[in-house]
Symmetry: C2
Subunit: 102 residues, 2 copies
Amino acid sequence: MIVTVVEVYVKPQHIDAFVEAVRENHEASVKEQGNMRFDILQSAAEPSQFLLYEAYESEDSSKAHKETPHYQKWKETVGPMMAKPRKGTPYRVICPADRSQW
Amino acid sequence: MIVTVVEVYVKPQHIDAFVEAVRENHEASVKEQGNMRFDILQSAAEPSQFLLYEAYESEDSSKAHKETPHYQKWKETVGPMMAKPRKGTPYRVICPADRSQW
């Protein structure tokens, strides 16, 4: 199991459009084979900062996400909305270790 | 719904002891009323860096976590293992918006 945590910095004037685009990406991503979670969070203190919590069963399924049409569409849509480049960090899962708890 | 993302930096010689302590904290925390998730992740690139994903139904249940005996025990146990102070960031939940999907 692997989780990629992506920090996203959006230009303030694009927050609403970003939320719309990321919701669409969420809805499609959770239907991918091997996806365990795809949570979208917004910083309580800085509404222009978001965090994507992308949990997959394997590195292969995580990589396959970036080949999907919805990822490609999302990437192109939100690209111009970014205040600075997104930062993705891959993590191994310690807990919960049981796949059924995802 | 609120998620606190905690970045943890552990002294390399304490990684194994930290994992043991954080597993115990996880097991007790997921049983708290109002807890939705309490994931423990380890950076794939930097094994001394961890991320705690603490999801609660409300601010009150999130705050109540810090009053529990297991939190207090964990805090005291891991304190000396830290390479630098932990950093916690609170987030609002955008997706999934349905409580049943947590």
